[in-house]
Symmetry: C2
Subunit: 407 residues, 2 copies
């Protein structure tokens, strides 16, 4: 993250601590390029080798306690009010600092439910308990899930502009692949084409392999599977899930095409019906999504559309936050299933960017029909960030996805 | 990591569990592209979105319990004896699997001391405890630090060959920068030159920014600081810490040059003396490094050379493992300081690849003198992987580092 965004986020963190009534938030890491805490990049553009503690307080302090060899880089950022360095152990300076600021609550990055707020490793937690022996602070540790969730979730205008760029790029590549893809081409060739298109533009992919996910026809491996040597054939739905990471922010979209059989000029009823259900699911969800709504309510609205149309419910959430990563943690627009923990109960806030992505795994024997759009929550409701796909084009007969006309 | 290396590592994991008398090792992750467990890449080439458990047992089972959308990709690897998928929650399948294999010890990736064996987040640990309620397994959890340390540390011939390639590439770039660097050039320009040289070869940098670390003269920011606009000047030592990541494996080396003043044809006594002490420290450490020695003993041997020569002791460890990452976790060749925990007490094993990198921060007012070589531990002792730097060349008067003649 660039330094101007970090300054924004540090200011935001301070404000969120006030809202949540928390005295201090501490990011406690080591060898952070080696896995690391996903919240770190919101407040520091770099990595730490030795054990390091970055503390933001409700009172306005920003204290970094870092190894001697990192302190120059931290000071150079200019955003930390105090930089303390050590050689042999962080133990002493850490405890002294805590005694000085004496927080009644010390929020740490752990969460049973929210992976993006769960960057503290178990070993580092145990180490911290050891350091805090003989102090009152081990009793004051709380989860920073609310801090990190709000910090990641509330997009500033700068962040939103970057996400919109990443969406625009992905949409352009979707247009290109709609012209490239044709019967006889394999899933793998289509995937490679899109990866090359991203690389040519100097942007990254929005998630680690496989990105894009490409599914053609009913025998493709649905989900997070690897694009295969299956060929695109007449009668297939070609379904692609793709996004890019550009200037640190991501897009995440799904688009579908129908591959006409000889003599066909439109998708068959079975594919068209599935498409309509998915599009309607997205519309209904967008209507429901506004500040204060809980994620499961939005999911349920779309899920009902799909099942009322006679399809099985989709085996995933309707949507998720998008930000620096495609799956950006925080609350989810998902069902109240055990694996989602309490994330479906989080309330949407203005500035949140979500995907809306219902799907039908078997659209009348043609393959998977999934569309994924992106929206931002506003005070009034939500606003489309992506150009919605409102028709199911026939591959080869349409120059691009007919998706720019509807907004 | 490529599939052939993963097959080797899974076999090795099985063997290590036998040696350590552990029944099972479980990697428990979610959204693993989002931070993730650094041990995962040794057994799976990809990322998991939903909660996933990869279990290797002493009896030879390799069981993957993964979300429905990941199971195709896991099956496609062909190395898992059982792939179980779920939709709503991993809870049931996980507990059933554990009851079936009934391990007396279940090793998890957490460690107070070893970051590379500490990939389990605290939230995931708490979640696991919740899932294990009503079973005997919560009582049987142990640290997998020994498993992960041996797995990362014992390099196969394939891994060693990759490390040697990464060293060769870094050394070539060091030769090039020795011709590029000159008085008037800035640290930042030198760093950019090396980054471009790596990019041109299609290899990555061995660590996240700043790589390389470039220090010229006595006023440079020593350590993990950002290369600055300081210019190379006569009378400086130019010190560079650099490595590349090539085919998934890293090199990590430091080289130094002296920048002669008008009329000088050799480094002054003060720089030459520091250089000799550092080189001798490396030699003595290499003599001491053999299977069974504890890391602190190797560090102490080199540390004594430096202090006996009248310099302050270096504020870091003598050396660390190198593998898929530059700082590869496991035991360290370091002093018994609190921040290193018990890692200086680990015994060296054949196949371990270490750096040897004593340094003198102030070499008689000329700047930082640090040399870093790489060795592999063998049955008999250790073998040089890098071409040692045995002379301190004058920048501009020598075509390359005179470092290929001594081995």
């Amino acid at each position: 993250m660039t330094s101007s965004l970090i300054a924004e986020k540090l200011e935001q963190a301070h404000q969120i601590l006030g809202e949540l009534g928390l005295d201090a938030w501490m990011v406690f890491v080591r060898e952070s390029s080696h896995g690391g805490d996903p919240a770190l990049s919101y407040i520091y553009d770099g990595a730490f080798t030795w054990q390091s503690a970055l503390i933001v307080t409700r009172a306005g302090d920003r204290i970094a306690i870092v190894g001697k060899f990192d302190d120059g880089a931290v000071r150079a950022t200019g955003v930390w009010t105090e930089v303390i360095s050590y050689v042999q152990s962080i133990h002493g300076p850490l405890v002294e600092t805590l005694r000085r600021i004496d927080p009644q609550t010390l929020a740490l990055d752990f969460s049973v439910d929210d992976y993006a707020a769960d960057g503290l490793t178990h070993g580092m937690y145990l180490l911290l308990l050891k350091y805090l022996e003989g102090t009152p602070y081990a009793e004051r540790l709380v989860s920073a899930v609310g801090v990190v969730g709000a910090l990641r979730g509330r997009k500033s205008p700068n962040e939103l502009a970057r996400i919109e760029k990443a969406i625009e790029t992905a949409q352009t590549i979707f247009d290109e692949v709609g012209r490239f893809a044709a019967p006889g081409k394999t899933e793998r060739e289509v995937a490679r084409f899109m990866q090359d298109a991203a690389a040519r533009r100097g942007v990254g992919l929005a998630w680690s392999q496989p990105c894009p996910i490409v599914n053609t026809g009913p025998h493709s491996m649905i989900g997070h599977g690897v694009p295969s040597d299956l060929q695109i054939e007449p009668g297939h739905i070609l379904h692609i899930d793709f996004g890019v990471q550009q200037e640190g922010y991501c897009s995440d979209l799904q688009r579908c095409w129908y591959v006409p059989r000889p003599g066909e000029h439109a998708p068959p009823e079975s594919a068209a019906r599935a498409f309509e259900a998915v599009v309607q699911g997205i519309s209904v969800a967008a209507d429901r999504l506004k500040p204060g709504v809980e994620g499961w309510q939005v999911d349920q609205a779309a899920r009902k559309i799909i099942t009322a149309a006679g399809y099985p419910e989709y085996g995933h959430a309707l949507g998720h936050h998008v930000g620096c990563t495609a799956h950006d943690g925080g609350g989810i627009l998902g069902p109240r299933w055990e694996r989602y923990g309490n994330t479906p109960f989080r309330k949407a806030e203005p500035g949140n960017v979500f995907t809306l992505e219902p799907s039908i795994e078997d659209a009348g024997g043609c393959g998977c029909l999934g569309i994924e759009e992106m929206v931002v929550v506003t005070d009034a409701g939500c606003r489309w960030l992506s150009d919605r796909q409102m028709t199911l084009p026939c591959l080869g007969t349409s120059k691009s996805l007919d998706n720019r006309l509807q907004n």
